[in-house]
Symmetry: C2
Subunit: 486 residues, 2 copies
């Protein structure tokens, strides 16, 4: 794990703001042994920048590895997947015509339950970590299963592979099949504590793996369990993840399961927040705070969005999943307008792909359906409908900076700045020769065809629309090389 000092040279691209990418050409990024960026220079020549910076940093050339991006390649921050069920990966692409609630019972719970078999869990989780790293995911907020031992195994595998991960042992003590349910809130809490202790033991500083409190979703959790989980999260200052408002039938179910007599909820909003809303249920349990990641948020009401914003909870937008399961199209602009931090989740296996790049592309496309829907419903003038569209720049922000905020690592990862850690991917695109052929590059032959006349922003757009894991040549976490294409 001990890395050497490294100087990265070439083109660097990252999000300067939600709407703008910053391009640093002929740049130089200096990363120390612990994976922290200590200096950034550019544009500059290699010899000059070494001559100037090495003495200033007190670096001896012999101690420094040099990584050069080739012409046309660029460094980009690693992707952050803020919602992924590692345990569901083998079902990626398998839905039939189901929607959320029947999909859970038909496909999901049986698979999750089967991962209590340690050999199967090792096989599946190893694959997930390999796959997601290959797609440039340097940090993932994982749901495992209710089984503590295999949840711990997932943490071990992430730590060994060097992938930053939030590891969630799934808590669910009601309305789930007998074969896959916590026996009681106490049993759920005990198993959860076991995973937290394990992670503290294997990564005491929680530099790579951290536990995340994971009530599956309100329908599967008693108020008692949710309250105890909220207390634990507060005691230990832990992040929280759950689902919210994914599917209309699920929302109706929450309403019926959690009347105010169960939640003790009272109107909390200035304008009279509905105490039976999905968000109110979590709020009544104490689960809504600025360390909470809420997946989906497709059908939030105006009042719920205000509540979520006020609590500082973050949203994981999962467009692949929402489209595949027919859940709906989340209004990301509407959420952003309300001051809610948004990020991207692959939501494997509601989402069919473990790629955050695919989620980014889907976020662009789904936002155009939101715009169309707004225009068609006459809710908005053309200009306002157009505002619903997310740009390539914006979805890349969600995939990096937004993700970092969601997982509590803002200022530490998600961009290239002095003081941040080197979580990055090297991106290479295919270059079409004069004969129309593409040279086989190291790392294979992806689908991005660059003809040479494209601007840098257009190259990035081509990557987002037509790229895949073949374009992710190398991946680093905290300065450590964690993936390289053969």
């Amino acid at each position: 794990m001990a890395a050497r000092k490294t100087l990265y040279l070439g083109t660097f691209v990252h999000s300067e703001s939600l709407t703008e990418l910053e391009f640093l050409y002929d740049g130089a990024v200096f990363v120390n042994e612990s994976g922290t960026i200590v200096a950034i220079q550019g544009p500059c020549e290699e010899a000059k920048v070494k001559e100037m910076m090495f003495p200033r940093l007190g670096w001896a050339e012999a101690d420094v590895d040099i990584v050069r991006a080739k012409d046309g390649e660029f460094f980009f921050p690693g992707f952050i997947d803020t919602h992924i069920h590692a345990s569901q990966y083998p079902n990626a692409g398998i839905f039939g015509q189901s929607t959320l609630l029947d999909w859970l019972n038909t496909y999901t719970f049986p698979l999750e339950a089967s991962l209590a078999d340690p050999a199967k869990a090792r096989r599946v989780y190893s694959r997930v970590v390999r796959r997601t790293l290959a797609h440039g995911t340097t940090c993932a907020a994982y749901y495992a299963t209710i089984d503590a031992a295999s949840t711990n195994l997932l943490a071990d595998l992430c730590l060994a592979a060097g992938q930053r991960a939030l590891i969630g042992r799934v808590c669910m003590d009601q309305l789930s099949p007998d074969y896959y349910r916590d026996a009681s809130p106490e049993a759920a809490m005990a198993a959860t504590r076991q995973t937290i202790e394990h992670i503290r033991a294997v990564d005491p500083q929680m530099e790579i793996v951290r536990p995340i409190i994971t009530p599956r979703f309100a329908p599967a959790c008693s108020m008692d369990l949710m309250r105890q989980l909220a207390e634990l999260a507060n005691e230990q200052n832990l992040p929280i993840q759950t689902h919210i408002s994914e599917n209309v039938n699920e929302i109706a179910l929450v309403k019926s399961l959690f009347p105010p007599s169960v939640t003790g909820a009272t109107p909390t909003d200035d304008n009279g927040q509905d105490p039976t809303s999905y968000a109110s249920v979590y709020d009544a349990a104490g689960l809504l705070n600025d360390r909470t990641i809420l997946a989906h948020a497709v059908h939030l009401t105006e009042g719920e969005a205000r509540l979520v914003a006020r609590r500082g909870a973050k949203v994981s937008h999962c467009p692949c999943s929402n489209s595949a399961l027919g859940s709906g199209a989340a209004r990301v602009r509407w959420l952003l307008d309300r001051g809610i931090v948004c990020s991207l989740g692959s939501d494997v296996s509601g989402g069919y792909s473990p790629s955050v790049l695919e989620a980014a592309r889907a976020a662009v496309l789904v936002s155009r359906h939101v715009a169309q829907g707004a225009a068609a419903a006459g809710q908005a003038a053309e200009e306002e409908a157009d505002r619903q569209k997310l740009s390539v720049e914006e979805v890349l922000y969600l995939a990096t900076r937004g993700g970092a905020e969601a997982v509590g690592l803002a200022g530490k990862v998600g961009g290239f700045e002095v003081g941040m850690e080197w979580d990055a991917q090297l991106i290479g695109l295919g270059v079409v020769g004069e004969d129309g052929e593409v040279e086989e590059q190291d790392g294979g032959d992806g689908n991005v065809d660059v003809f040479g006349w494209e601007s840098w922003p257009d190259r990035v757009a081509k990557w987002v629309y037509t790229g895949d894991d073949r374009n992710t040549k190398r991946v680093w976490v905290k300065g450590r090389l964690v993936h390289e294409r053969k």
Copy 2:
């Protein structure tokens, strides 16, 4: 080009009907020297089937090549892309925030015009043919540009590479930039005839390449030009391709450009078809018949759909393009319910991907947005909304059998039946070992991870949702091997 007799052995999958795939395990398909399927057997053992069939067919074993699908691989009919602008390929993924009409002027027309340069045209078209073959496209209905010479070059390249293609020289004599417009209907007709003659000269039987009459779309064509093109198509029994009802502003433009005083249209529908509708314009020109491919059809009215159905024209559904350009979500079920044949188009570069598999996946996803929209608008009960969803089986039908109908090759390609031609792809999926690793297969390491317990229909679903060109190991057209992954 002379192929040998070939016996294909393994698993064969094709569409039996719109809603059902047929699986033939341990099957044997016998293809003669001209690429025609002469016998199909199975399930059977190799030795037995040879012993039984070779004498019956009069084949000597020494004359026969054997192609065996490995365990887990399967043969699938080649994809048919019924709408692709070869000339726009370099812009795949480049849109900005534009919609149809400004996208044409900003991105599309300048690129198309530049392909009058033969070197550039050769570079771009070579790349397109390579790429689409690699994605399993055995037949494509191409739009080239207004330039006859480079359109002919596209035909030559398809013929040389062995890709079935309908080659359309684009006709547009109005409302287009000065630098990219036919000088007159006569000039457009003369250039079109030139490409037809060229194709007849290079492929007299039109076995691989055929000309297709291509008025770009109504806004860019005078009535005079459209009428002359319709006459030419009738004289020579040629297919026709154009765009219809893609974008709401485009539809308004058509209405303003083609009042009945221009088209001479009168109500033609039993129920009083609107004579200023988009479909009526084409009908008035004589362009709507059973050899016509209409791309998009996103916003057709009930009356237009009836007219299209009555004329027997086919629709090319282009979901990637419709989402990316924010055009809307075509109601494929609604079109099918009206008896209209539907197929899939990549619509490069309104569509960002040259892959029909990507279009199939997008068709599944977009149909779920249609269902959601229907449910949200209260237009339909839940069951009726659910009916809008397209299944994996249905989109694969559109990609093969539907495509074959659209391009006038029904009964010849699109499935595996005696008498049909061998246009096929060999699909291989990644198999995850007990250690969670995937063996590097010939042809690379795609994203489909099969764990081994999946049913065959689930494997096909995984391919549709998570597959790409890496899973297309080999491609044949008319018995000729036209692509093989290294």
